[in-house]
């Protein structure tokens, strides 16, 4: 039996929920923004009217208002969006138990054996009636084309990519519409004269591998609607691939010492979470966002897996010069707006210990014992019961761990074109 896969995408999710609660805003351009006070004042989501006026996700509020003078901004209420995401998921569960969420606002559903279009229409109708939200649903025999379908026509539409007509409909689409083809990959593909999904499907996988490495053949199979894997059932927990923290700082940073202070807090938080999961990681990556909102990541491989904050901190400090040249930043009038630290290539702690003759193992065990002791003190008496001296140098920087930590989008090698973390566009 041929699989029937749906991909459901809630249109302008955050903005739609806000418009539901503010009926007076429905006919106006609306942008959902982070808190300006906490310097998260960027556009997180926008409705169709704002989009038409040129408002883009990630823009600063002032920039969005300049493009769209009548723009109504509302502060994001994540708890509310979570409630709606759960309610929509409960609706999906009436139709199938094979649901694979993709962020808060998207999900794949396996409804093999059913009439895909009929189920898609019923889901859209139910979501609209019960939650007041619209969804676009793609129907295909694989996850990749189903996702393509949900992006094909918006809002509130069902698109079916099934049968012999599929290549005729799908192949002329720009390659950037394909899942996991972000702007950078699309640019590189264009240099190889691969502009449409059809071009990518026809390209030699060996050639793609030579240019893009192991994701080359994967992109090629995605273009042909192969791969993407089955829809994993709800409740299936993916193995943790990386652990990271990032933070938007209360003020722009201009000195490496300030970045060091922030990394000391981030490394402690990441190391504590690694220990919580019983994991250690070999790859350490730092991520930096400048005050112009451009960002970059740099990484290195440790000689042995680590879950210890001093080792992560040392790695972060050694990576920083690749991303941050204080003189160049000063010349360009830039500062560091956000910093992140991520550890990947994880392995269970028990497997990682490499016996050595030089007593380093004993030294690391001692360091780990110290860290575990700090974890325990914090669990019992609160985070601020024990802190690094570096955190005391600038009280505003030392304050953030409890309030502003957020998960760093784990990118690995792939660009997730349609998503930035779980943030809807």
């Amino acid at each position: 039996m041929s699989p029937v896969i749906l991909h459901s995408d809630l249109n302008a999710f955050y903005a739609s929920v806000e418009c539901l609660y503010h009926p007076e805003l429905r006919e106006r351009p609306v942008a959902v923004c982070g808190s300006a006070e906490a310097r998260h004042g960027i556009v997180l989501a926008k409705n169709q009217l704002a989009k038409k006026a040129g408002v883009r996700t990630g823009q600063a509020i002032w920039e969005a208002k300049r493009l769209c003078p009548g723009l109504q901004t509302v502060e994001a209420r994540h708890g509310l969006y979570l409630r709606y995401a759960r309610a929509v998921r409960a609706i999906y569960a009436r139709f199938t138990d094979r649901i694979e969420p993709f962020g808060l606002d998207e999900a794949w559903l396996d409804v093999t054996g059913e009439d895909g279009r009929a189920v898609a229409d019923a889901i859209r109708r139910t979501v609209k009636e019960e939650c007041g939200l619209t969804a676009s649903v793609g129907v295909a025999d694989n996850k990749i084309y189903a996702k393509l379908g949900s992006d094909y026509r918006k809002p509130d539409a069902t698109t079916v990519f099934l049968g012999e007509a599929v290549p005729r409909l799908v192949y002329p689409l720009p390659v950037s519409d394909l899942l996991f083809v972000g702007p950078a990959t699309a640019k590189r593909l264009a240099l190889c004269r691969v502009n449409t999904i059809g071009d990518l499907a026809a390209a030699d996988p060996l050639f793609l591998q030579s240019v893009f490495g192991r994701i080359g053949p994967m992109l090629s199979s995605y273009a042909r609607g192969e791969g993407g894997g089955p829809v994993t059932p709800l409740g299936y927990e993916e193995e943790v691939k990386s652990i990271g923290h990032s933070t938007t700082l209360p003020r722009d940073l201009h000195e490496p010492e300030e970045a060091h202070a922030v990394f000391s807090l981030l490394s402690e938080a990441v190391a504590a979470r690694l220990r919580e999961h019983g994991l250690a990681g070999r790859t350490v990556a730092i991520w930096l966002r400048k005050s112009d909102l451009s960002s970059a990541e740099h990484r290195l491989t440790l000689p042995e897996p680590s879950d210890l904050s001093p080792e992560l901190l040392r790695a972060a400090d050694s990576l920083l010069p690749a991303l941050f040249d204080p003189a160049a930043f000063r010349r360009a009038g830039l500062g560091i707006r956000s910093l992140g630290l991520r550890v990947a290539s994880l392995s269970p702690l028990a497997e990682e210990a490499q016996l050595t003759f030089d007593g380093r193992l004993a030294a690391r065990e001692k360091m780990r014992a110290g860290e575990i002791c700090i974890d325990s003190i914090r669990r019992r008496f609160g985070y601020f019961a024990i802190r690094r001296a570096a955190a005391l140098l600038d009280p505003s920087l030392g304050k953030f761990p409890d309030t502003h930590f957020s998960a760093l989008p784990g990118s690995e090698e792939l660009e997730v074109a349609a998503k930035e973390g779980a943030r809807p566009s």
């Binding site: 539901l20 609660y21 109504q72 409630r83």
Partner: protein, 98 residues
């Protein structure tokens, strides 16, 4: 009201007397208006999850008959609300952030 004017509604939270059956199902019995008046629910005609597109929000929607009138009563996040007709405010609306 002029034909061209769009009817507007506001979300008005109300106090309610309800009953729970052994399965945990809730049935509203009485609504207490802000001025203290009590309106007995004669009959619940339907109950289902629904969005309130008029007043904003969503929850369990009870279609209730109060005498000759049929009104939606919503239960959202532990609170009850109705879609109350709001008188149109003359003059230009102010553009402001919410």
């Amino acid at each position: 009201m002029k034909g061209s004017e769009k009817e507007s509604f506001r979300k008005t939270f109300v106090a309610a007397t309800v009953s729970f059956d052994p399965e945990g199902n809730i049935t509203p019995l009485r609504v207490i208006w802000r001025d203290g008046r009590r309106f007995a629910v004669d009959r619940v005609l339907e109950s289902r999850p629904a969005a309130s597109l008029k007043a904003g929000g969503s929850g369990m929607r009870y279609t209730c008959r109060f005498g000759n009138a049929v009104t939606y009563l919503f239960y959202e996040d532990g609170r009850w609300f109705v879609e109350e007709k709001a008188p149109a405010v003359p003059g230009k609306e102010k553009d402001s952030d919410v």
